[in-house]
């Protein structure tokens, strides 16, 4: 019986940890803009040709 109590307390701790992370995500504004980041990651960083070769 002890094992169930132990497992439940571990799983609940992990779940609460995720809830806390979610709260932090929302509060720090990570879900404020759902569109721009999806586009931004597809922009290529153009190679700078003018840079002297070191």
């Amino acid at each position: 019986m002890m094992i169930i109590i132990l497992l439940i307390s571990i799983s609940l701790t992990i779940a609460v940890a995720f809830l806390v992370v979610f709260f932090w995500n929302i509060k720090s504004g990570q879900y404020d803009d759902m569109y721009t980041p999806s586009v931004r990651m597809l922009f290529d960083q153009k190679k700078d040709d003018n840079k002297p070769v070191s």
């Binding site: 019986m1 169930i4 109590i5 439940i8 609940l12 779940a15 809830l19 979610f22 709260f23 929302i26 509060k27 879900y31 404020d32 803009d33 759902m34 569109y35 721009t36 586009v39 931004r40 922009f43 153009k46």
Partner: protein
């Protein structure tokens, strides 16, 4: 003599074959080059503005902009160098900057022009344009760009200037400086997340109970029960807190709304469960409790769909610029407009707005009041004439002497009207609250009756039964019906370019039985008039007319110039503009006169020229007639026909030049009122309301803002959701105005769907109550009934709305 000689031909096909017309499109904005064609690096541009943007991007190696999206640019006018100088004023700077230190500062600009992937790319590469810019980040949903920069290397005004130069003019106004960021939506999501989390876990711990545990596992049961209680406490105190506060408030106002029975039910559930667990008499109903809160919050969240990039609550301040050029010790200095005092001398440039009632100091100036009064044509002001705030200067810069501060000007007095003092919570009784009141009394009655019954038969069970009744009476499904019906409808309408401020507007829209329209900008398109040409002009002569009219700032000249596509390289000599008559000039040895009939033919006996008619004479011979008329939006006839008697009036601030045209469009039963001031419009709406009508006002400009506010529903029509719309309940895209009646029909249907949803949820409540009064409400029964009722009501209203929308909006093509 006169127009008799003219052979009638429609305009554009007249374009003669002597000049080859190849439609070239602009490399930057993709529009057809109508006025002129500029060439640079084998690319064509429609105007100097577009070419400048390309040049800037080219020099800074930013031409990738053009490869991400096709012709991403916006056609724009070149702005003067010091337009943004006021941004460096200390008071403005302090308000705009989010962070400021000697070598690092951060600012956020609202840029209405943001519309595509290329925009994001370009605006996030601003550091290539100016080394002083450290980083820039776009928020596409809000159409803002945040810029971090080094104030020592680049001034704030310079950044504004850069943005304007590359076609993304920031919109800075008083509202920006006072606007609060909405944080309530985040709170709602957090509450929902917590409720969902606890609901899931509580359900998991409740499961063993339902499946049946042996007596040997009793200790485990106790552990689960206490865990459930621990998980429910944050739900009770954080997630559900809003319902308790709302019902307290409604008690204070001595009104019963939907929150009262909900709060009572939640309280009963929680207290009864706590009692059961603490006394070890049962497992409690905590899964039902957390589930209820979770479903209710989903409903709230679903309904709170908002259009972040649109603003519904703007007042006059957002229409005025933030700063104006004021004369200080002989020099022009930018000052913030609310610091203007009577006696100040200010200078307003072409297309800028006069911020305060003032006297004109120059000899003449053209002022366009179209946005304030709805009058389409600019008026000419003479020296020492009073000009009113909100007018737009057309032509060369003019100087004015301020008479009254902005807040006391003629225009802003409209905002002191009672209509603007009303809070959003009008006396309007919502359907849901009417239903809730009836519901609450019925439930209370049942609770009292059962209490009496059990008191005499089995007093020990009385409290258990009463709490059971209150618990199942919690009108969760009832509370969900409205958010999901109206929330779904809000989204459907949004997809068809009607953006409503909130879901309550749908209910008010359903009750509308009188529709009032504005003319300029709503029924007609103010900025793109129809120009029809008759006469025997050749292609070359058309080109001359275009050239000559382009010299004049008169609106008729501008309209004519814009519709002619032929170009000439000839030059004008001896250009003269005679106010009230016309213009004259010599091109390639020909004397050309354009204007009124008497001016072009030297025949004094002719009847006065009707407004909008312009005659063309070449070398004294009458050769053509151009008629300029406001063009009416397409497909209005069908919509007005379907509205029929509901369409009551047309209110226009313009002169009655279009009366006949409008009367045929609207039909005989519609009253037409012209020369209406903003106050007149407001009073007209109020009169209708006093006759017991529910009024829908459809308008666009500042001159309608009083009427929009006073009306039961005010819809602003706009062709570009980025530009100014007055405070209103909804924004309708100009292309969708012909579906106005269908939107009204849809809102009626949603009210019917809502009522059907109520009936379904009442049935569930009746079943649950029968369990409760007989004392058979076990946690298992509650746990099955509550989610089932919620899900079926939500499913019914969402599907119902979408089917209705498809059926009604599909008929569009007919």
């Amino acid at each position: 003599m006169g127009p008799v000689l003219l052979t009638v031909q429609k305009s554009t096909p007249v374009m003669v074959a002597t000049e080859k017309q190849i439609v070239t499109t602009c490399y930057h904005c993709g529009q057809a080059c109508e006025k002129e064609v500029l060439h640079l690096e084998e690319k064509t541009f429609c105007c100097y503005g577009c070419q400048t943007v390309f040049e800037i991007l080219n020099t800074h190696d930013l031409c990738e902009y053009y490869s991400l999206d096709k012709t991403p640019g916006n056609q724009h006018d070149v702005v003067g160098d010091d337009v943004y100088a006021y941004l460096d004023e200390k008071s403005v700077r302090k308000k705009l900057l989010k962070f400021d230190s000697p070598d690092f500062a951060s600012v956020q600009f609202y840029i209405p022009a943001i519309h595509c992937v290329s925009c994001i790319w370009l605006l996030e590469n601003l550091q290539k344009v100016d080394a002083g810019i450290l980083r820039s980040e776009v928020n596409f949903a809000r159409k803002t760009v945040s810029v971090d920069f080094n104030p020592q290397k680049v001034a704030l005004s310079r950044i504004g200037q850069w943005l304007a130069n590359i076609g993304y003019a920031p919109s800075v106004n008083l509202e920006d400086t006072t606007r609060e960021k909405p944080g309530t939506n985040k709170q709602a999501v957090l509450k929902l997340a917590l409720a969902g989390f606890c609901f899931g876990n509580v359900m998991l711990f409740s499961f063993p109970e339902y499946l049946g545990l042996d007596a040997s596992d009793a200790s485990l049961m106790r552990v689960f029960s206490w865990l459930n209680l621990a998980l429910s406490i944050p739900v009770f105190f954080y997630s559900a807190a809003g319902y308790f506060q709302a019902s307290l408030k409604s008690f204070q106002q001595r009104q019963v709304n939907i929150d009262v029975p909900i709060a009572a039910g939640l309280l009963a559930l929680f207290l009864r469960s706590t009692y059961d667990i603490v006394t070890a008499t049962g497992p409690g109903y905590l899964d039902s409790f957390t589930g209820l809160v979770f479903f209710l919050l989903i409903g709230r969240w679903f309904q709170s769909k908002t259009y972040e990039s649109l603003a519904f609550d703007r007042d006059f301040t957002s229409y005025f610029p933030l700063a104006v050029q004021k004369q200080v010790a002989g020099q022009w200095k930018p000052v913030v407009i609310y610091e203007l005092a009577p006696g100040d001398t200010i200078r307003i440039r072409n297309l800028e707005i006069i911020p305060a009632d003032s006297l004109l100091l120059d000899e003449t100036a053209h002022i366009d009041y179209s946005f304030v009064t709805g009058e389409a044509r600019p008026v000419q002001a003479r020296q020492h004439d009073v000009v009113y705030a909100g007018g737009r200067v057309i032509g060369p810069p003019a100087t004015f002497l301020v008479e009254k501060p902005t807040s006391q000007s003629h225009l802003t007095s409209l905002w002191n009207n009672d209509a603007f003092r009303k809070t959003d919570e009008r006396n309007y009784q919502k359907i849901i609250d009417r239903a809730a009141r009836r519901f609450t009394w019925i439930v209370l009655g049942i609770a009292v009756l059962t209490a009496f019954y059990w008191y005499y038969t089995a007093p020990a069970n009385m409290w258990l039964v009463i709490t059971s009744v209150l618990m199942v009476a919690c009108p969760c499904a009832l509370a969900l019906a409205a958010p999901f019906t109206y929330g779904s409808m809000l989204r459907v309408m949004g997809r068809h370019a009607l953006y409503l401020k909130n879901a309550d507007v749908i209910e008010r829209l359903a009750a509308v039985d009188a529709v009032v329209f504005d003319k300029t900008g709503t029924i007609t398109l103010g900025d793109k008039p129809d120009v029809s040409h008759t006469g025997s002009l050749t292609g070359e002569e058309y080109a001359w007319i275009k050239l000559l009219t382009s010299y004049s700032t008169h609106p008729l000249s501008k309209s004519i110039s814009a519709t002619i596509r032929q170009h000439t390289n000839d030059i004008v000599t001896g250009f003269k503009e005679i106010p009230g008559k016309g213009i004259e000039g010599v091109i390639a040895g020909n004397v050309i006169r354009i204007g009124s009939a008497s001016f072009t033919t030297d025949n004094r006996s002719l009847i006065p020229t009707p407004s909008g008619q312009v005659f063309v004479a070449i070398n004294g011979e009458l050769r053509g007639l151009m008629t300029v008329q406001a063009s009416v939006r397409k497909d209005l006839k069908g919509m007005l026909g379907r509205l029929d008697r509901r369409c009551v009036a047309l209110l226009s601030g313009d002169t009655d030049g279009d009366r006949d045209k409008m009367q045929t469009l609207f039909g005989e039963h519609v009253q037409l009122h012209f020369n209406q001031t903003p106050h007149d419009k407001l009073d007209y709406i109020r009169n209708l309301q006093q006759q017991g009508k529910k009024v829908l006002m459809v308008g666009d400009g500042l001159n309608d803002s009083g009427a929009l506010k006073q009306a039961d529903v005010g819809l602003a029509v706009t062709d570009d959701t980025g530009i100014f719309t007055p405070a209103c309940d909804g924004i309708l895209h100009g292309s969708q105005i012909q579906s106005l009646d269908r939107f009204m029909q849809l809102s009626k249907v949603s009210t019917r769907i809502l009522k059907a949803g109520f009936i379904i949820s009442f049935m569930y409540n009746a079943v649950a109550l029968s369990f409760a009064v007989t004392g058979h409400l076990t946690p298992l029964v509650a746990a099955i009934l509550m989610p089932l009722s919620s899900v079926s009501v939500v499913g019914f209203s969402s599907i119902g709305v979408n089917i209705a929308a498809r059926r009604i909006l599909k008929n569009k093509s007919i």
